[in-house]
Symmetry: C2
Subunit: 121 residues, 2 copies
């Protein structure tokens, strides 16, 4: 399989419409399709990024950290992004920034508790 193969990121959701709305605003993505329990989001025309697929499973996130998370690379406006995402329904999980391996990040969670990081390069 070559790297040109499309890679989609797929989340299980309790409330697929609420999660699709959150992630669209968080990423600047646009709704692409809806079928049954599925919703998909893609970058707006002219921009690139993996397609997001959200599926309603009804099961809440299990206890403990997800095995798998996303890092969203932000520029020098980390505090503004933290505030913006909290305004959309995210939660900040680390009070300060974590500095390691030449980068700094803040751990956040989406409205259903899925961890993600905002990373300053």
């Amino acid at each position: 399989m070559a790297a040109t193969t499309e890679i989609h990121v797929t989340f299980d959701c309790v409330n697929v419409d609420a999660q699709a709305a959150f992630w669209a605003q968080a990423l600047g993505y646009v709704p692409h399709g809806a079928a049954g329990q599925y919703r998909s989001l893609v970058p707006p025309p002219g921009l690139t990024g993996p397609k997001f697929v959200l599926q309603q499973t009804g099961e809440p996130k299990p206890a403990g950290k997800n095995r798998f998370h996303l890092d969203l690379v932000v520029g020098d406006h980390l505090d503004a992004e933290v505030s913006r995402l909290i305004g959309l329904g995210a939660t900040r999980l680390t009070p300060g920034t974590i500095d390691e391996a030449g980068t700094s990040w803040v751990v956040m969670a989406d409205p259903e508790g899925n961890e993600f990081c905002l990373v300053v390069r």
Copy 2:
């Protein structure tokens, strides 16, 4: 945050080097960096796709399905890809294909049990 923001996909691993080797071959990605418990993989020059970050945490995958998984879109060579990935250390979790919402897929797991799907559009 605009969709031009980079999105990285990050996995927790028991054996970060083995997982990095598996995912590089699975995706056709190339090693990009290694620092402490981290390894990163990127598409080869000229191709696009999200950066992969693998981190050694030492904790095995919790019981149950991951909340979050990847779909890898393959062309019309699904059986060949299933066989190739099994040869790299993956496991096939569904004996047949699942057909739903206009697509077909096979559920697989990587060497540490993380589910992913091979999807025929």
